[in-house]
Symmetry: C2
Subunit: 133 residues, 2 copies
Amino acid sequence: KQVFKPMRQKEIKVVKSVMSSPAITVKPNETIESASRILIENGINHLPVVDEQGRLVGIVTSWDIAKAVAVGKARTVEEIMTRKVITASPDDPIEIAARKMDANKISALPVVDAKGKVLGVVSSEDLSKLLAR
Amino acid sequence: KQVFKPMRQKEIKVVKSVMSSPAITVKPNETIESASRILIENGINHLPVVDEQGRLVGIVTSWDIAKAVAVGKARTVEEIMTRKVITASPDDPIEIAARKMDANKISALPVVDAKGKVLGVVSSEDLSKLLAR
Ligand SMILES: C[S@@+](CC[C@H](N)C(=O)[O-])C[C@H]1O[C@@H](n2cnc3c(N)ncnc32)[C@H](O)[C@@H]1O
């Protein structure tokens, strides 16, 4: 009797298994002070910005807030957010997410579903902890 | 003639092979605006704080600047820096650095030599890019 043994293959880890969720988000018209408070209270660095319908319209990070401090003047999230957001899909392999971050010199990606709804955030911290022992 | 073949072993990657160096640092008496400018001009999130002798006395990050914005009032780096700094040694395996970050919920470690001199910074971004393909 012949037995077929499946080939050992590397397990594919996907974004949804390591992302932080639910996503903590902010609205474009909120103040920089209020966005800062949300970052601090949650111990995070990245806030997807969503419109009234919950669709992703930007991202604001503690780096953007430091930039506002360096440059002065800005008052609201929409004045400092990045509008062209690089995102991940929940079923992307983590290697793809790592490559997107590396190629774009960023440290997190909002994870969005097919309708653009924000499901979570995957960060370089979420990925680097996979290397921990 | 007998030939000894070394056992295949997993290559051990160490911190110094992935860290960013030289370290960009700041002095405790600099203003928060000036620290913010250094972060932005260099596209980084973490600044080791060193005294006149170049010894590590703290770390200030874009997260601490967002906190200063949220809370108000602070003016200088030493008012907002974290004084108990978790560091890495240049020859630490990267898995150890990843574990330190994960266990302390931080995203970077100043890399210091035996004399406490700051050689560089290793971040979760430096580590997560090892997973990229
Ligand atoms: C607790 S983390 C929370 C945000 C996020 N997890 C991160 O890593 O940036 C932010 C705080 O950690 C501190 N911190 C960052 N790296 C550190 C290190 N190597 N040793 C000690 N504190 C550090 C910062 O000064 C800041 O006050």
